[in-house]
Protein backbone atom coordinates (compact mmCIF):
# COMPACT_ATOMS: atom_id res chain seq x y z
CA UNK A 1 0.00 0.00 0.00
CA UNK A 2 2.77 2.38 0.92
CA UNK A 3 4.54 1.47 -2.29
CA UNK A 4 1.55 2.30 -4.43
CA UNK A 5 1.34 5.77 -3.02
CA UNK A 6 4.98 6.45 -3.43
CA UNK A 7 4.65 6.52 -7.20
CA UNK A 8 3.32 10.06 -7.02
CA UNK A 9 5.65 12.88 -6.09
CA UNK A 10 6.42 13.22 -2.42
CA UNK A 11 5.40 16.59 -1.00
CA UNK A 12 6.56 16.11 2.53
CA UNK A 13 8.85 13.51 3.97
CA UNK A 14 9.51 13.47 7.67
CA UNK A 15 12.16 11.22 9.06
CA UNK A 16 12.67 10.35 12.69
CA UNK A 17 11.43 13.73 13.78
CA UNK A 18 11.71 14.25 17.52
CA UNK A 19 11.11 17.14 19.86
CA UNK A 20 11.86 17.12 23.55
CA UNK A 21 10.78 19.59 26.17
CA UNK A 22 13.07 18.74 29.04
CA UNK A 23 12.25 15.18 29.97
CA UNK A 24 9.05 15.18 27.98
CA UNK A 25 9.23 13.87 24.45
CA UNK A 26 6.37 15.69 22.76
CA UNK A 27 7.07 14.28 19.32
CA UNK A 28 8.86 10.96 19.35
CA UNK A 29 10.66 9.67 16.31
CA UNK A 30 7.89 10.34 13.84
CA UNK A 31 8.34 9.27 10.25
CA UNK A 32 5.68 10.42 7.86
CA UNK A 33 5.26 10.79 4.12
CA UNK A 34 2.65 12.84 2.36
CA UNK A 35 2.44 12.81 -1.39
CA UNK A 36 1.70 15.82 -3.50
CA UNK A 37 -1.97 16.70 -3.73
CA UNK A 38 -2.90 14.52 -0.82
CA UNK A 39 -5.39 15.44 1.87
CA UNK A 40 -4.14 14.18 5.18
CA UNK A 41 -5.54 14.41 8.67
CA UNK A 42 -3.44 14.18 11.79
CA UNK A 43 -5.58 13.04 14.68
CA UNK A 44 -4.74 12.36 18.25
CA UNK A 45 -5.68 13.05 21.80
CA UNK A 46 -4.94 16.35 23.45
CA UNK A 47 -1.26 16.72 23.95
CA UNK A 48 -0.41 13.99 21.49
CA UNK A 49 2.10 16.24 19.77
CA UNK A 50 0.20 17.39 16.69
CA UNK A 51 0.76 21.10 17.05
CA UNK A 52 4.37 20.50 17.94
CA UNK A 53 4.72 18.53 14.72
CA UNK A 54 3.28 21.46 12.77
CA UNK A 55 5.56 23.85 14.54
CA UNK A 56 8.54 21.91 13.37
CA UNK A 57 7.33 21.60 9.80
CA UNK A 58 6.68 25.33 9.60
CA UNK A 59 9.96 26.15 11.28
CA UNK A 60 8.50 27.80 14.35
CA UNK A 61 10.24 25.27 16.57
CA UNK A 62 13.57 23.56 15.88
CA UNK A 63 13.46 19.75 16.10
CA UNK A 64 15.62 17.91 18.61
CA UNK A 65 16.37 15.27 15.99
CA UNK A 66 15.24 14.17 12.56
CA UNK A 67 14.79 15.61 9.11
CA UNK A 68 12.10 17.29 7.13
CA UNK A 69 12.09 17.25 3.36
CA UNK A 70 9.80 19.31 1.18
CA UNK A 71 9.53 18.10 -2.39
CA UNK A 72 12.80 16.36 -1.99
CA UNK A 73 14.64 19.29 -0.55
CA UNK A 74 15.86 19.18 3.03
CA UNK A 75 14.32 22.13 4.85
CA UNK A 76 15.23 21.15 8.40
CA UNK A 77 17.60 24.07 8.79
CA UNK A 78 15.61 26.60 6.79
CA UNK A 79 14.23 29.73 8.48
CA UNK A 80 10.45 29.97 8.79
CA UNK A 81 10.45 32.78 6.29
CA UNK A 82 12.24 30.73 3.67
CA UNK A 83 9.83 27.87 4.18
CA UNK A 84 6.92 30.19 3.56
CA UNK A 85 8.52 31.26 0.34
CA UNK A 86 9.02 27.61 -0.53
CA UNK A 87 5.25 27.20 -0.25
CA UNK A 88 4.52 26.13 3.31
CA UNK A 89 1.65 27.99 4.89
CA UNK A 90 -0.08 27.41 8.22
CA UNK A 91 -2.80 28.54 10.54
CA UNK A 92 -2.40 28.69 14.29
CA UNK A 93 -4.50 26.94 16.84
CA UNK A 94 -4.87 30.28 18.56
CA UNK A 95 -5.71 32.99 16.04
CA UNK A 96 -2.92 35.42 15.28
CA UNK A 97 -4.36 38.35 13.40
CA UNK A 98 -3.23 41.96 13.10
CA UNK A 99 -5.64 43.51 15.56
CA UNK A 100 -4.95 47.14 14.75
CA UNK A 101 -5.61 46.79 11.04
CA UNK A 102 -8.72 46.29 8.98
CA UNK A 103 -9.59 42.87 7.70
CA UNK A 104 -8.73 44.08 4.23
CA UNK A 105 -5.25 45.18 5.25
CA UNK A 106 -4.75 41.93 7.10
CA UNK A 107 -5.52 39.99 3.97
CA UNK A 108 -3.44 42.30 1.84
CA UNK A 109 -0.36 41.86 3.99
CA UNK A 110 -0.88 38.14 3.64
CA UNK A 111 -1.18 38.40 -0.14
CA UNK A 112 1.97 40.47 -0.37
CA UNK A 113 3.85 38.14 1.86
CA UNK A 114 2.99 35.25 -0.37
CA UNK A 115 3.61 36.69 -3.76
CA UNK A 116 5.20 39.89 -4.01
CA UNK A 117 7.82 42.41 -3.40
CA UNK A 118 7.05 42.57 0.26
CA UNK A 119 8.59 45.87 1.17
CA UNK A 120 7.60 48.29 -1.58
CA UNK A 121 7.77 51.79 -0.31
CA UNK A 122 6.89 53.93 -3.32
CA UNK A 123 3.31 53.17 -4.09
CA UNK A 124 0.45 53.10 -1.63
CA UNK A 125 -1.37 49.88 -1.04
CA UNK A 126 -4.55 51.29 -2.54
CA UNK A 127 -2.77 51.80 -5.85
CA UNK A 128 -1.11 48.42 -6.03
CA UNK A 129 -2.39 46.11 -8.74
CA UNK A 130 -2.81 43.13 -6.44
CA UNK A 131 -4.97 45.02 -3.97
CA UNK A 132 -8.17 43.72 -5.56
CA UNK A 133 -7.34 40.15 -4.63
CA UNK A 134 -8.42 40.85 -1.08
CA UNK A 135 -12.08 40.80 -2.08
CA UNK A 136 -11.95 37.35 -3.54
CA UNK A 137 -10.06 36.06 -0.55
CA UNK A 138 -12.55 37.55 1.90
CA UNK A 139 -15.32 35.96 -0.10
CA UNK A 140 -13.75 32.55 0.27
CA UNK A 141 -13.68 32.71 4.05
CA UNK A 142 -16.98 34.50 4.43
CA UNK A 143 -15.73 37.87 5.60
CA UNK A 144 -16.95 39.98 2.70
CA UNK A 145 -19.03 42.30 4.83
CA UNK A 146 -16.34 42.60 7.48
CA UNK A 147 -13.63 43.91 5.17
CA UNK A 148 -13.40 47.32 6.79
CA UNK A 149 -13.70 46.15 10.37
CA UNK A 150 -10.68 46.23 12.63
CA UNK A 151 -9.51 42.72 13.23
CA UNK A 152 -9.58 43.08 17.00
CA UNK A 153 -13.24 43.91 16.80
CA UNK A 154 -14.07 40.57 15.24
CA UNK A 155 -15.62 37.87 17.35
CA UNK A 156 -13.62 34.78 18.12
CA UNK A 157 -15.09 32.78 15.28
CA UNK A 158 -14.62 35.56 12.78
CA UNK A 159 -10.99 35.78 13.76
CA UNK A 160 -10.69 32.08 13.03
CA UNK A 161 -12.09 32.78 9.56
CA UNK A 162 -9.58 35.55 9.03
CA UNK A 163 -6.80 33.30 10.25
CA UNK A 164 -7.75 30.84 7.56
CA UNK A 165 -7.99 33.54 4.93
CA UNK A 166 -4.46 34.68 5.59
CA UNK A 167 -3.11 31.19 5.16
CA UNK A 168 -4.90 30.86 1.86
CA UNK A 169 -3.65 34.17 0.54
CA UNK A 170 -1.71 32.61 -2.23
CA UNK A 171 -2.32 28.98 -3.13
CA UNK A 172 0.45 27.35 -1.09
CA UNK A 173 2.02 24.05 -1.95
CA UNK A 174 1.68 22.68 1.52
CA UNK A 175 -1.09 23.94 3.73
CA UNK A 176 -1.10 23.13 7.43
CA UNK A 177 -4.37 23.78 9.17
CA UNK A 178 -4.42 23.52 12.96
CA UNK A 179 -8.00 22.97 14.05
CA UNK A 180 -9.57 25.28 11.51
CA UNK A 181 -13.08 24.44 12.63
CA UNK A 182 -12.54 25.19 16.29
CA UNK A 183 -14.71 28.09 17.30
CA UNK A 184 -16.69 28.07 14.06
CA UNK A 185 -20.42 27.80 14.16
CA UNK A 186 -22.33 25.15 12.30
CA UNK A 187 -22.81 27.24 9.24
CA UNK A 188 -19.21 28.36 9.08
CA UNK A 189 -18.18 24.76 9.42
CA UNK A 190 -20.24 23.89 6.40
CA UNK A 191 -18.57 26.58 4.37
CA UNK A 192 -15.22 25.42 5.64
CA UNK A 193 -15.89 21.94 4.35
CA UNK A 194 -16.95 23.37 1.01
CA UNK A 195 -13.88 25.52 0.90
CA UNK A 196 -11.59 22.64 1.65
CA UNK A 197 -13.19 20.67 -1.15
CA UNK A 198 -12.58 23.57 -3.50
CA UNK A 199 -8.89 23.80 -2.82
CA UNK A 200 -6.79 23.28 -5.94
CA UNK A 201 -6.06 19.63 -6.47
CA UNK A 202 -2.29 20.06 -6.58
CA UNK A 203 -2.22 21.54 -3.11
CA UNK A 204 -1.14 19.28 -0.31
CA UNK A 205 -3.17 19.63 2.84
CA UNK A 206 -2.46 18.47 6.35
CA UNK A 207 -5.25 18.99 8.78
CA UNK A 208 -5.41 18.76 12.54
CA UNK A 209 -9.03 18.64 13.58
CA UNK A 210 -10.99 17.31 16.49
CA UNK A 211 -14.30 17.62 14.67
CA UNK A 212 -14.43 14.18 13.14
CA UNK A 213 -17.31 15.05 10.84
CA UNK A 214 -14.94 17.36 9.10
CA UNK A 215 -11.69 15.55 9.61
CA UNK A 216 -12.81 12.23 8.24
CA UNK A 217 -14.82 13.66 5.37
CA UNK A 218 -12.25 16.03 4.00
CA UNK A 219 -9.22 13.76 3.77
CA UNK A 220 -7.88 10.80 1.87
CA UNK A 221 -5.71 9.43 4.56
CA UNK A 222 -5.32 9.70 8.31
CA UNK A 223 -2.33 9.55 10.65
CA UNK A 224 -3.02 9.11 14.31
CA UNK A 225 -0.61 10.27 16.96
CA UNK A 226 -0.49 9.19 20.54
CA UNK A 227 1.91 10.41 23.21
CA UNK A 228 4.25 11.70 20.57
CA UNK A 229 4.34 8.49 18.54
CA UNK A 230 2.74 7.78 15.25
CA UNK A 231 0.21 5.17 16.34
CA UNK A 232 -1.56 4.24 13.16
CA UNK A 233 -2.18 5.26 9.59
CA UNK A 234 -4.98 4.41 7.25
CA UNK A 235 -7.97 5.56 5.28
CA UNK A 236 -10.74 7.26 7.21
CA UNK A 237 -12.76 4.09 7.09
CA UNK A 238 -9.91 1.99 8.44
CA UNK A 239 -9.27 4.42 11.22
CA UNK A 240 -12.93 4.68 12.20
CA UNK A 241 -13.08 0.95 12.45
CA UNK A 242 -10.02 0.70 14.67
CA UNK A 243 -11.16 -0.17 18.16
CA UNK A 244 -8.02 1.13 19.89
CA UNK A 245 -8.36 4.48 18.29
CA UNK A 246 -11.99 4.66 19.23
CA UNK A 247 -11.05 4.02 22.82
CA UNK A 248 -8.25 6.45 23.18
CA UNK A 249 -9.49 9.17 20.90
CA UNK A 250 -12.89 9.06 19.31
CA UNK A 251 -14.96 7.91 22.21
CA UNK A 252 -18.69 7.71 21.56
CA UNK A 253 -18.25 9.53 18.34
CA UNK A 254 -16.46 6.75 16.58
CA UNK A 255 -19.23 4.31 17.18
Amino acid sequence: MQAARQTTEEALAIEGLTRRFGALVAVDDVTLRVSAGERRAVLGANGAGKTTLFNMIAGDLPPSAGHIRLFGEDITELSPQKRVLAGVRRTYQKSLVFGGMTVRDNLYVAIRGATGPRLTIWKRAENQPDRAQTDALAERVGLTDRLDTMANELSHGEQRQLELGMALAHPPKLLLLDEPAAGLSTRERESLVAMLADLPRDLTLILIEHDLDIALKAVDYVSVMHNGHLLAEGTPAEISANQDIQDIYMGRHGK
Binding site: V109, L119, E126
Partner: protein, 333 residues
Protein backbone atom coordinates in the same frame (compact mmCIF):
# COMPACT_ATOMS: atom_id res chain seq x y z
CA UNK B 1 -14.66 70.00 3.92
CA UNK B 2 -11.77 67.56 4.16
CA UNK B 3 -9.51 70.11 2.58
CA UNK B 4 -10.38 73.04 4.76
CA UNK B 5 -8.25 72.03 7.66
CA UNK B 6 -5.05 71.22 5.73
CA UNK B 7 -5.38 74.42 3.71
CA UNK B 8 -5.87 76.44 6.83
CA UNK B 9 -2.78 74.87 8.35
CA UNK B 10 -0.68 75.62 5.29
CA UNK B 11 -1.90 79.19 5.17
CA UNK B 12 -1.17 79.60 8.84
CA UNK B 13 2.34 78.27 8.45
CA UNK B 14 3.03 80.64 5.58
CA UNK B 15 1.79 83.83 7.20
CA UNK B 16 3.04 82.95 10.67
CA UNK B 17 6.39 84.78 10.28
CA UNK B 18 4.61 88.01 9.51
CA UNK B 19 2.50 88.12 12.61
CA UNK B 20 5.00 87.12 15.28
CA UNK B 21 8.26 88.43 16.66
CA UNK B 22 11.61 86.77 16.21
CA UNK B 23 11.27 84.75 19.39
CA UNK B 24 8.02 83.15 18.31
CA UNK B 25 9.37 82.71 14.83
CA UNK B 26 12.62 81.00 15.67
CA UNK B 27 12.47 79.72 19.17
CA UNK B 28 8.86 78.57 19.12
CA UNK B 29 8.20 78.08 15.40
CA UNK B 30 11.60 76.82 14.33
CA UNK B 31 11.97 74.65 17.36
CA UNK B 32 8.52 73.16 16.97
CA UNK B 33 9.41 72.10 13.45
CA UNK B 34 12.90 70.78 14.15
CA UNK B 35 12.18 69.21 17.52
CA UNK B 36 8.81 68.09 16.19
CA UNK B 37 10.55 66.16 13.45
CA UNK B 38 12.54 64.28 16.06
CA UNK B 39 9.29 63.60 17.88
CA UNK B 40 7.81 62.48 14.58
CA UNK B 41 10.42 59.76 14.31
CA UNK B 42 9.35 58.52 17.72
CA UNK B 43 5.66 58.67 16.86
CA UNK B 44 6.29 56.83 13.61
CA UNK B 45 8.06 54.02 15.43
CA UNK B 46 5.54 53.78 18.19
CA UNK B 47 2.33 54.14 16.26
CA UNK B 48 3.21 51.91 13.36
CA UNK B 49 5.70 49.40 14.63
CA UNK B 50 4.86 49.28 18.31
CA UNK B 51 8.46 49.97 19.28
CA UNK B 52 8.96 52.87 21.60
CA UNK B 53 12.42 54.26 21.18
CA UNK B 54 13.83 56.73 23.64
CA UNK B 55 17.03 56.95 21.64
CA UNK B 56 15.60 59.25 18.99
CA UNK B 57 17.21 62.29 20.59
CA UNK B 58 20.52 60.49 20.50
CA UNK B 59 20.11 59.70 16.83
CA UNK B 60 19.29 63.33 16.22
CA UNK B 61 22.38 64.07 18.27
CA UNK B 62 24.47 61.91 15.96
CA UNK B 63 23.31 63.99 13.02
CA UNK B 64 23.93 67.16 14.99
CA UNK B 65 27.39 66.13 16.09
CA UNK B 66 28.24 65.03 12.57
CA UNK B 67 27.07 68.36 11.16
CA UNK B 68 29.20 70.16 13.72
CA UNK B 69 32.19 67.90 13.17
CA UNK B 70 32.17 68.40 9.43
CA UNK B 71 31.14 72.05 9.20
CA UNK B 72 32.41 73.70 12.38
CA UNK B 73 35.57 72.12 13.74
CA UNK B 74 36.42 73.37 17.23
CA UNK B 75 39.72 73.26 19.09
CA UNK B 76 41.28 70.78 16.74
CA UNK B 77 38.30 68.44 16.67
CA UNK B 78 36.60 68.08 13.32
CA UNK B 79 37.19 68.01 9.64
CA UNK B 80 35.93 70.75 7.42
CA UNK B 81 33.99 69.42 4.43
CA UNK B 82 31.80 71.10 1.82
CA UNK B 83 28.36 71.40 3.35
CA UNK B 84 26.43 69.16 0.92
CA UNK B 85 28.82 66.36 1.68
CA UNK B 86 28.67 67.13 5.39
CA UNK B 87 24.89 66.96 5.39
CA UNK B 88 24.80 63.73 3.43
CA UNK B 89 27.26 62.26 5.91
CA UNK B 90 25.24 63.54 8.85
CA UNK B 91 22.02 62.00 7.56
CA UNK B 92 23.82 58.84 6.59
CA UNK B 93 25.34 58.50 10.04
CA UNK B 94 21.99 59.16 11.70
CA UNK B 95 20.43 56.45 9.56
CA UNK B 96 23.24 54.08 10.44
CA UNK B 97 22.83 54.96 14.11
CA UNK B 98 19.14 54.19 13.76
CA UNK B 99 19.91 50.88 12.12
CA UNK B 100 22.40 49.98 14.85
CA UNK B 101 19.96 50.81 17.61
CA UNK B 102 17.45 48.75 15.70
CA UNK B 103 19.88 45.85 15.74
CA UNK B 104 20.33 46.12 19.48
CA UNK B 105 16.61 46.38 20.08
CA UNK B 106 15.53 44.00 17.38
CA UNK B 107 14.41 41.22 19.65
CA UNK B 108 12.55 43.34 22.14
CA UNK B 109 9.05 44.74 22.14
CA UNK B 110 6.98 47.52 23.61
CA UNK B 111 8.04 48.69 27.01
CA UNK B 112 11.22 46.61 26.81
CA UNK B 113 12.28 48.57 23.78
CA UNK B 114 11.69 51.72 25.77
CA UNK B 115 14.04 50.68 28.52
CA UNK B 116 16.73 49.38 26.25
CA UNK B 117 16.75 52.42 24.05
CA UNK B 118 16.82 54.61 27.14
CA UNK B 119 19.96 52.85 28.20
CA UNK B 120 21.45 53.20 24.74
CA UNK B 121 20.66 56.89 24.87
CA UNK B 122 22.45 57.22 28.18
CA UNK B 123 25.43 55.31 26.86
CA UNK B 124 25.65 57.77 24.03
CA UNK B 125 25.38 60.66 26.46
CA UNK B 126 28.27 59.42 28.55
CA UNK B 127 30.28 58.73 25.44
CA UNK B 128 29.91 62.30 24.24
CA UNK B 129 30.75 63.52 27.71
CA UNK B 130 33.93 61.51 28.04
CA UNK B 131 35.23 61.50 24.50
CA UNK B 132 37.29 64.43 23.29
CA UNK B 133 38.47 63.16 19.91
CA UNK B 134 35.10 63.01 18.19
CA UNK B 135 32.70 64.84 20.46
CA UNK B 136 34.96 67.36 22.17
CA UNK B 137 33.76 66.18 25.55
CA UNK B 138 31.85 68.38 27.94
CA UNK B 139 32.22 71.46 25.81
CA UNK B 140 30.97 70.07 22.53
CA UNK B 141 30.77 72.27 19.49
CA UNK B 142 29.85 75.90 19.15
CA UNK B 143 29.12 78.15 16.24
CA UNK B 144 27.52 75.67 13.92
CA UNK B 145 25.80 77.76 11.28
CA UNK B 146 23.62 76.74 8.33
CA UNK B 147 25.15 77.33 4.90
CA UNK B 148 24.62 80.35 2.71
CA UNK B 149 23.29 79.16 -0.63
CA UNK B 150 23.47 81.55 -3.58
CA UNK B 151 23.55 84.48 -1.24
CA UNK B 152 20.62 83.22 0.81
CA UNK B 153 21.65 82.87 4.42
CA UNK B 154 19.71 79.92 5.72
CA UNK B 155 20.68 80.98 9.20
CA UNK B 156 18.67 84.18 8.98
CA UNK B 157 15.34 83.92 10.73
CA UNK B 158 12.97 83.88 7.80
CA UNK B 159 14.85 81.50 5.50
CA UNK B 160 15.53 79.22 8.43
CA UNK B 161 11.87 79.10 9.30
CA UNK B 162 10.74 78.31 5.78
CA UNK B 163 13.43 75.72 5.36
CA UNK B 164 12.19 74.10 8.56
CA UNK B 165 8.62 74.16 7.28
CA UNK B 166 9.60 72.48 4.03
CA UNK B 167 11.69 69.78 5.69
CA UNK B 168 9.15 69.08 8.40
CA UNK B 169 6.34 68.88 5.86
CA UNK B 170 8.40 66.51 3.75
CA UNK B 171 8.96 64.26 6.74
CA UNK B 172 5.35 64.43 7.81
CA UNK B 173 3.92 63.56 4.42
CA UNK B 174 6.67 61.02 3.92
CA UNK B 175 5.52 59.19 7.02
CA UNK B 176 1.86 59.43 6.04
CA UNK B 177 2.74 57.95 2.69
CA UNK B 178 4.99 55.19 3.91
CA UNK B 179 2.52 53.80 6.38
CA UNK B 180 0.04 53.14 3.60
CA UNK B 181 2.52 51.34 1.38
CA UNK B 182 2.97 47.58 1.55
CA UNK B 183 6.09 48.24 3.63
CA UNK B 184 4.13 50.37 6.07
CA UNK B 185 1.34 47.81 6.33
CA UNK B 186 3.90 45.14 7.07
CA UNK B 187 5.27 47.34 9.85
CA UNK B 188 1.81 47.55 11.35
CA UNK B 189 1.53 43.80 11.12
CA UNK B 190 4.76 43.65 13.02
CA UNK B 191 3.27 45.83 15.69
CA UNK B 192 0.22 43.61 16.11
CA UNK B 193 1.46 40.08 15.66
CA UNK B 194 5.05 39.52 14.63
CA UNK B 195 4.71 35.73 14.68
CA UNK B 196 1.95 35.83 12.16
CA UNK B 197 3.93 38.19 9.99
CA UNK B 198 6.82 35.81 9.97
CA UNK B 199 4.54 32.97 9.03
CA UNK B 200 3.45 35.00 6.03
CA UNK B 201 6.97 35.11 4.71
CA UNK B 202 8.23 38.42 6.05
CA UNK B 203 11.64 38.86 7.55
CA UNK B 204 10.61 40.31 10.88
CA UNK B 205 14.00 41.35 12.28
CA UNK B 206 14.89 43.02 9.00
CA UNK B 207 11.64 44.97 9.05
CA UNK B 208 12.30 46.12 12.59
CA UNK B 209 15.78 47.27 11.80
CA UNK B 210 14.63 49.05 8.64
CA UNK B 211 11.94 50.84 10.60
CA UNK B 212 14.57 52.05 13.02
CA UNK B 213 16.73 53.13 10.12
CA UNK B 214 13.92 55.15 8.59
CA UNK B 215 13.16 56.68 11.97
CA UNK B 216 16.85 57.46 12.29
CA UNK B 217 16.81 59.29 8.98
CA UNK B 218 13.85 61.38 10.08
CA UNK B 219 15.39 62.08 13.46
CA UNK B 220 18.57 63.06 11.62
CA UNK B 221 16.73 65.75 9.70
CA UNK B 222 15.28 67.00 12.96
CA UNK B 223 18.71 66.87 14.53
CA UNK B 224 20.25 69.03 11.84
CA UNK B 225 17.47 71.59 12.15
CA UNK B 226 17.96 71.52 15.87
CA UNK B 227 21.68 72.12 15.81
CA UNK B 228 21.25 74.98 13.38
CA UNK B 229 18.70 76.49 15.70
CA UNK B 230 21.00 76.29 18.71
CA UNK B 231 24.22 76.76 16.75
CA UNK B 232 25.82 74.46 19.28
CA UNK B 233 25.72 70.94 20.55
CA UNK B 234 27.07 69.43 23.72
CA UNK B 235 26.40 66.38 25.87
CA UNK B 236 23.63 68.38 27.48
CA UNK B 237 21.77 68.20 24.16
CA UNK B 238 21.56 64.41 24.40
CA UNK B 239 21.25 64.04 28.17
CA UNK B 240 18.37 62.47 30.03
CA UNK B 241 16.22 65.60 30.05
CA UNK B 242 16.08 66.18 26.28
CA UNK B 243 15.65 62.45 25.76
CA UNK B 244 12.60 62.46 28.00
CA UNK B 245 11.40 65.71 26.44
CA UNK B 246 10.93 63.95 23.12
CA UNK B 247 8.72 61.40 24.75
CA UNK B 248 6.79 64.04 26.67
CA UNK B 249 6.14 66.03 23.55
CA UNK B 250 5.01 62.90 21.74
CA UNK B 251 2.61 62.00 24.48
CA UNK B 252 1.28 65.52 24.80
CA UNK B 253 0.49 65.61 21.12
CA UNK B 254 -0.67 62.05 20.89
CA UNK B 255 1.48 59.15 19.97
CA UNK B 256 -1.05 57.56 17.67
CA UNK B 257 -0.89 59.95 14.75
CA UNK B 258 2.00 61.77 13.03
CA UNK B 259 0.40 65.16 13.44
CA UNK B 260 0.57 64.63 17.18
CA UNK B 261 4.33 65.03 16.93
CA UNK B 262 4.14 68.62 15.84
CA UNK B 263 1.21 69.53 18.02
CA UNK B 264 3.04 68.03 20.94
CA UNK B 265 6.29 69.77 20.09
CA UNK B 266 4.49 73.08 19.83
CA UNK B 267 2.62 72.78 23.10
CA UNK B 268 5.66 71.43 24.86
CA UNK B 269 7.83 74.29 23.67
CA UNK B 270 5.28 76.88 24.69
CA UNK B 271 4.70 75.36 28.09
CA UNK B 272 8.41 74.91 28.62
CA UNK B 273 9.05 78.56 27.85
CA UNK B 274 6.12 80.16 29.56
CA UNK B 275 5.31 77.95 32.52
CA UNK B 276 7.66 80.12 34.52
CA UNK B 277 5.27 83.04 33.97
CA UNK B 278 2.29 81.30 35.47
CA UNK B 279 3.74 80.30 38.75
CA UNK B 280 6.39 81.50 41.14
CA UNK B 281 9.70 81.26 39.35
CA UNK B 282 10.90 78.45 41.57
CA UNK B 283 8.11 75.95 41.06
CA UNK B 284 7.37 76.03 37.37
CA UNK B 285 8.60 72.48 36.90
CA UNK B 286 5.80 71.30 39.11
CA UNK B 287 3.40 72.98 36.74
CA UNK B 288 4.98 71.35 33.70
CA UNK B 289 4.84 67.97 35.40
CA UNK B 290 1.21 68.42 36.37
CA UNK B 291 0.13 69.48 32.91
CA UNK B 292 1.84 66.45 31.49
CA UNK B 293 0.31 64.19 34.07
CA UNK B 294 -3.12 65.61 33.42
CA UNK B 295 -2.84 64.88 29.72
CA UNK B 296 -1.69 61.34 30.34
CA UNK B 297 -4.51 60.81 32.80
CA UNK B 298 -7.37 62.30 30.88
CA UNK B 299 -6.45 61.70 27.30
CA UNK B 300 -4.51 58.54 26.56
CA UNK B 301 -4.07 59.64 22.99
CA UNK B 302 -2.89 63.14 23.81
CA UNK B 303 -4.17 66.44 22.52
CA UNK B 304 -4.79 65.01 19.08
CA UNK B 305 -7.10 62.45 20.60
CA UNK B 306 -8.78 65.11 22.66
CA UNK B 307 -9.43 67.32 19.68
CA UNK B 308 -10.43 64.37 17.56
CA UNK B 309 -13.01 63.23 20.03
CA UNK B 310 -14.36 66.71 20.53
CA UNK B 311 -14.54 67.04 16.75
CA UNK B 312 -16.24 63.76 15.93
CA UNK B 313 -18.51 63.60 18.86
CA UNK B 314 -19.01 67.11 19.97
CA UNK B 315 -19.46 65.70 23.43
CA UNK B 316 -17.35 65.37 26.49
CA UNK B 317 -13.83 64.15 26.26
CA UNK B 318 -14.14 62.33 29.51
CA UNK B 319 -16.07 59.53 27.84
CA UNK B 320 -13.84 56.57 28.05
CA UNK B 321 -14.06 52.95 27.02
CA UNK B 322 -14.25 53.78 23.40
CA UNK B 323 -11.95 53.36 20.52
CA UNK B 324 -8.65 51.59 20.81
CA UNK B 325 -8.15 52.20 24.48
CA UNK B 326 -10.86 49.72 25.25
CA UNK B 327 -8.89 46.54 25.16
CA UNK B 328 -6.49 47.46 27.90
CA UNK B 329 -8.51 49.97 29.77
CA UNK B 330 -9.92 49.18 33.09
CA UNK B 331 -13.53 48.67 32.38
CA UNK B 332 -16.43 48.64 34.69
CA UNK B 333 -15.28 50.41 37.75
Amino acid sequence: MRWILPLAVIALLLVYPFVVNSFWLVQIGGRTLGFGTIVLSLVFLTAYTGMLSLAQMSVAGVAGYATAYFTAPTSGVGLLLPWPLALILALGLATVAGLLIGLVAVRTRGIYTLMITLAVAMAFYFLTLQNYDLFNGYTGFNNVQPPVILGLDLGANLPFYYMSVVLAAACYFGVRHVVRTPFGLALQGLRDEPDRLRALGYNVPLLRVLAFGLAGFIAGIGGILNIWLNASISPGSVALNPVIDVLMAGVLGGIGHPIGAYIGAFVFTVVDNFAIDFIARERFNTLIGLIFLAIVLFSPDGLTGLVHRAWTRGTGWARRNDGDARETDDIGK
